[in-house]
Amino acid sequence: MSTDGLFVIGATHHRAPLAVREKLSLSADGAAALRVELAQIAGLKEFAVLSTCNRVEFYGVGANGDTAARVTAAFCARQQFDAAEFEKFRLNLRGREAVQHLLEVSSGLDSQMVGETEIFGQVKDAYAEAQARGSTGPVLNRVFQKGFQAAKHVRTHTAITTGQVSVANVAVDLALTIFGALKQTRILLLGAGEIGEKTAKAFQSRGAAALTVASRRFERAMELASALGASAMPFEQREARLAEFDVVVCATSAPDVVVSHAVTRAAMQKRPARPLFFIDQALPRDVDPAVSEIQNVFLYNLDDLAKIADENRAAREAEIAKCRTIVAEKADNLWRQVAPQIEALGAVAPLAPSVRHEEPA
């Protein structure tokens, strides 16, 4: 077997636009069915499927040169996608390049939002799934496991994952900078629109439990509160109850200020030792800018958050070259280890029968 026997084919956000990725996206059932079909391909000794919103990739070890083409054909057939059209977007890497690609994907270097860490978990899940179904072998086991180690190394030895790059997550990071932890932090969401909802979800995903929603339309506040597992509050009570909250996310479409300096000062007199953090995502602004002059009150508006996100993004991008050097070095080492294994696999029997006859879940 040629060392080119290790391959990765697929489509990613780099070349495939969203509309194409939607068509290529694999459902859980679809992925399971496809795995069974792939297991039938003669000469495909090992494989793993990685499917996320930004990529669908097949990592495999094939006995002959056309194995990757067969995998492509099986995938296109299942997705009812024109194979010739797929060629325009196709990712097709072999040997060492495939190894390097996996390392870059795992470490977040290949992600749309460079340095994001969610992809690491997704690659781990994809590998665990393949391993559980018995479709990995000595080559992919080594490539994936060493790939995870390399990704961890990149994350801990560079600043690629430092700082949040989305406005909602920047707001959550700021809250952590003020309160340390979010479990006991009481959050008030003013406005039940999409931006506020996104920020509220970001807070919940980082451990915030006490969330209250207030909107000028109380029914909408109730609706969103129910969806988020939060409580609702009449909008008119915001001033009287301001002192109860630690973080106030403002995202209304009100034409005037909804939180004034006087109201904030009065609230702070009731809770002088505890900081109050305003995240003003509204346009026009919801919070009187003068509140930032009050001791223990911190106010960040949309521009402030966007600026921090931009700085973080720039800092991550500045780390890319350093990360790629590390990844290239790791890929070289790993390739030296697996290349002889791939050569040796030429004589190994194809996938176990148990995998071949598995039915989709």
Partner: protein, 285 residues
């Protein structure tokens, strides 16, 4: 083991310790200048080793003077630095903040290097610290230990002021990103002030018991200085709990308290009298 301790003089051991504190500070500074985080575990290890070496040096000095080595300005600075580190080694484990280690190494390097670099501070042999009564020795040790707690409080107050500045001015990058949350710093400040005050209260309780029975057991000025520091710490603590002294003002008050404690140490030290020169054996022809 005792041969190892005897291999160097007390001041040499203290120089070794100061060097380690300084290395911790220098290493943290280089990391920060390079845009990275000071290595928390490395700084912690350097401080911990320095702490042991300083303990050896202070132990040798203590044996020589027959009590707690608080006999002159040099010893008081050394003991204050050692007390601050004692607390840091405990707090640092739970606080897990590399910047606190960096600031601690900075403060202790300054205290120890300066005290070692000024020979005059260690040249005068003063009267034995607060007589030979072990209870009064305990009072002195606790008082200086509480000042060590105030030293750590001063560090957290500096960190609080920096964090407050970074949040208000919206400068969150660089080494500001290594600072703990502002609420954590505030809570730690209150706890440290409470702990320092409690230790100082205990210390003053001991000396008061002796002083009331025998006013000659300690000079009025010494007791007065200690009581002023205690009263100020009590006032700051009470105002903080009542919500009068908060955020920046509280941090500045804590810094002033530590500065006052240092000044009072110098004043206490100056109120003592030098020992008469030891008789020198002279061989007559």
């Amino acid at each position: 083991m005792s041969a190892l301790f005897a291999a160097f003089s007390d001041r040499t051991w203290l120089w070794f310790a100061a060097a380690l504190y300084f290395i911790g500070f220098a290493q943290g500074t280089v990391s920060l200048l390079r845009g990275g985080r000071p290595a928390g575990s490395a700084t912690y290890a350097l401080i911990a080793i320095g702490y042991v070496l300083q303990l050896v040096g202070l132990g040798i000095r203590g044996r020589a003077v027959g009590g707690c080595p608080l006999g002159n300005t040099f010893e008081i600075f050394q003991f204050t630095a050692w007390s601050a580190i004692t607390l840091y080694l405990v707090v640092g484990l739970t606080f897990r903040n590399s910047l606190l280690g960096y600031f601690t190494s900075c403060l202790t390097a300054a205290l120890t290097v300066i005290s070692l670099a000024i020979p005059a501070w260690d040249a005068t042999t003063r009267t034995h610290i607060f007589s030979a009564n072990p209870w009064i020795e305990l009072h002195a040790a606790l008082a200086v230990f509480s000042y060590g707690v105030f030293a750590l409080l001063a560090l957290t107050s500096v960190m609080f002021l920096l964090r407050n500045y970074s949040l208000k001015s919206k400068r969150l990058g660089g080494w500001f990103s290594f600072l703990p949350s502002i609420l954590d710093l505030d809570h730690i400040g209150v706890r440290l002030l409470g702990a320092g005050m409690a230790i100082l209260t205990l210390s003053l309780g001991i000396i008061s018991a002796f002083w009331l029975r025998d006013p000659s057991s300690a000079s009025v000025s010494k007791v007065l200085f200690a009581f002023v520091v205690w009263a100020v710490s009590l006032l700051v603590f009470a105002l903080r709990l009542r919500g009068v002294l908060l955020t920046k003002r509280f941090a500045w008050a804590c810094l002033a308290l530590f500065a006052g404690a240092l000044v009072s140490l110098v004043a206490v030290d100056r109120s003592r009298h030098p020992l008469p020169p030891k008789p020198v054996a002279v061989s007559l022809p």
